[in-house]
């Protein structure tokens, strides 16, 4: 196999763009799994739900998918808060979150997927927007706008979350709730309310991630499953609850996947995330920037 420099650099750039997008998909998991210790394996299901809503509104009303996702934020936030309430009352409060909580989220993931199949069928769906198609050319480097726009939007989302978490009282309370609930109560913050806000926020990010996903690639209901391994691999590799770690891990995975796809074929790409996950768990369970 001859590895030409152009190809290598293009693969790395494509990986960087892909990694930025992965960061947006993982942001929600970093909050729910990393900070709240809620193993929300249904997250990719909500991402796909976001994709389909973006698709539906884009096709029928012609709204730009990214604008759709911003419009959807309050609804996804409310959905997340509702799910947390059910989860808290049924599992967390009774101390049964390990087995039944996981089964609950697995059921949610499955129900979302099958419901989408029933409503939209198993055909691939895609959106239409001006920036899907053309690319920027800088020398021999191709920058497809289809990847560049989602990457920029993803990084903006990521930065907003990071600012919210580190600069506001609620944000800091979210980081604190995973460490010491009692101490948080002494600071006059209700841990349940804080967790509800955080979980709502994590599901809200799925709306944006979903819209970005359908810009990058056509979507069908079972695509979400491929993302389960990816998002958790990124989250664990980055270090649970560390947003900067998540970003670094996402970009790393993006680049390695892109190189794998370029030099070994796209059908091998899904295996990369799992390799990442197993290696991290075996050698450095705390992740790159883990506490």
């Amino acid at each position: 196999m001859d590895i030409s420099l152009d190809l290598l650099i293009n693969a790395i750039i494509a990986g960087l763009l892909l990694g930025g997008f992965y960061a947006a998909v993982t942001a929600g998991i970093s909050i729910s799994f990393g900070m709240l210790d809620i193993v929300n394996i249904a997250h990719p299901g909500f991402v796909i739900l976001g994709s389909y809503l973006a698709y539906y509104l884009n096709i029928h009303l012609g709204i730009d998918p990214i604008i759709v996702s911003i419009l959807m934020l309050p609804f996804f936030y409310a959905l997340g808060a509702l799910i947390y309430q059910v989860y808290h009352l049924s599992f967390e409060k009774r101390g049964q979150d390990a087995l039944r909580g996981l089964a609950f989220f697995f059921g949610l993931l499955f129900v979302t997927e099958v419901a989408l199949i029933l409503v939209f069928g198993v055909d691939y769906r895609y959106v239409e927007a001006a920036y899907i198609g053309p690319s920027l050319h800088v020398g021999f480097v191709d920058l497809p706008l289809r990847m560049l726009v989602p990457c920029i939007a993803a990084l903006a989302l990521f930065a907003a979350i990071q600012l919210f978490i580190t600069r506001t009282f609620t944000g800091r309370a979210i980081m604190a709730v995973s460490q010491d609930q009692l101490a948080l109560q002494l600071m006059a913050a209700d841990p349940i309310k804080i967790k509800r806000i955080a979980f709502g926020l994590s599901i809200a990010t799925a709306a944006v991630a979903g819209a970005l996903l359908i810009i990058i690639q056509p979507v069908e209901p079972s695509v979400g499953r491929e993302y389960i391994g990816r998002v958790f691999a990124i989250c664990v590799l980055g270090g649970l609850g560390s947003m900067p770690g998540t970003l670094i891990a996402a970009i790393l995975l993006g680049i390695v996947e892109s190189l794998t796809a370029t030099f070994y074929g796209p059908s091998w790409a899904p295996a990369v995330a799992f390799g990442f996950l197993l290696l991290t768990l075996a050698f450095r369970p705390a992740g790159l920037l883990g506490r």
Binding site: F33, V39, I41, V86, S90, F91, R94, Q96, A98, L99, R100, L102, A103, F104, F106, G107, L108, F110, V111, E113, V114, A115, I117, L118, S222, R225, E226, I228, G229, F232, A233, V236, G265, S267, W268, P270, A271, A273, F274, G275, L277, L278, L281, A282, P285
Partner: protein, 320 residues
């Protein structure tokens, strides 16, 4: 019921098995064999899942992966040199058991949720491997020509009847093993892990060793369930071997039936399995999967101990 010994229980279970076999033979409808084979397969899968999930409290989302491992090791060996199906079942069990052990060794030392996540990802990765592996058919799938009859000396048994009998035997072995484990020291060890792992560890229970044993047994049974599958279906492709319905059903059936005893998975598998057979024919397979998913969510919220738990509660109330 409680006083029945394992030997007696095995005899009774075996006798019931023979009766089922005779009834099925007397009815002699091919469709019945195909339908009940699927239900028996789910009994094995649900029981296997429950050994790790119900007894130890560790969730395995990768049932489909272990099942497919069994199925694909059969395809692999069939292409090299066709062996009799019972041998393939043993090989499938070993392959899946070893993979379970390896996965468990890497992830079970960490927090419980890591194991669950790793099993989810395992299915995706194994599917990627199989899709890229041309020897076992790749993404196109592999044909396994099922012989019309199994000939032993001058006896000729229809092959589907033979597969049905094998799966019936597997289901009985799985149930007897689950019941034996439940009542043995091993089972008590598992229960301590489920109830409070930290306390168990502090009391000197070798938790990691027990968890690894449970993972290996559970994985092995799933592999056994998968090994005859290529012969049953005749044409195996990655998307059918790794089908989501295996992962979902093997969790939903014990959860709906009840996870604390061997009866739960059996009840869940028979109820859900036959309902699905019926719904697939009359409604559609997507709708029936939706119903399974909704039932799973509903049961874990409303009836955490499943049908067996509900029945026990009612009996207790009646007595008092």
């Amino acid at each position: 019921m409680k006083s029945v010994t394992t030997a007696k229980f095995s005899l009774i279970a075996g006798a019931i098995g023979v009766v089922i076999l005779l009834i099925a033979h007397a009815v002699g409808v091919d469709y019945l064999y195909f339908a009940s084979y699927t239900i028996l397969q789910f009994i094995v899968l649900a029981t296997a899942w429950n050994i790790l999930g119900g007894y130890c409290g560790y969730v395995n989302f990768g049932s489909a992966a272990f099942f497919a491992l069994g199925a694909y090791s059969s395809v692999f060996i069939h292409k090299l040199y066709p062996l009799p199906v019972p041998l393939l079942i043993v090989i499938g069990a070993m392959v899946s058991g070893v993979v379970g052990l390896g996965m468990g060794y890497l992830t079970l030392r960490l927090r419980g949720s890591f194991f669950a996540i790793a099993t989810l990802a395992l299915a995706v990765v194994l599917q990627t491997l199989v899709v890229n592996w041309d020897f076992v058919g790749g993404s196109r799938g592999a044909y396994i020509i099922r012989p019309e009859y199994l000939e032993i000396g001058s006896f000729k048994i229809p092959y589907i009847e033979y597969l049905f009998a094998l799966m019936l035997a597997l289901a009985i072995i799985a149930l007897v093993s689950a019941r034996t484990i439940e009542r043995s020291q091993l089972g008590f060890g598992f229960a301590t892990i489920r109830d409070d792992e930290l306390a168990a560890e502090a009391c000197g229970v070798p938790t990691l060793k027990l968890k690894l044993i449970a993972t290996a047994i559970s994985g092995a049974f799933m592999g056994m369930a998968g090994a005859p599958f290529p012969y049953y279906i005749g044409y195996l492709q990655p998307s059918s071997a790794f089908g989501l319905e295996y992962a979902v059903n093997s969790i939903a059936m014990p959860m709906i039936g009840g996870t604390t005893s061997w009866v739960g998975p059996l009840v869940g598998a028979v109820l859900l399995g036959s309902a699905q057979q019926y719904a697939t024919v009359t409604i559609s397979s997507a709708v029936n999967l939706l119903i399974v998913g909704l039932m799973l969510v509903g049961f874990v919220i409303i009836a955490p101990n499943g049908i067996v738990g509900l029945v026990q509660e009612r009996l207790r109330r009646k007595r008092s």
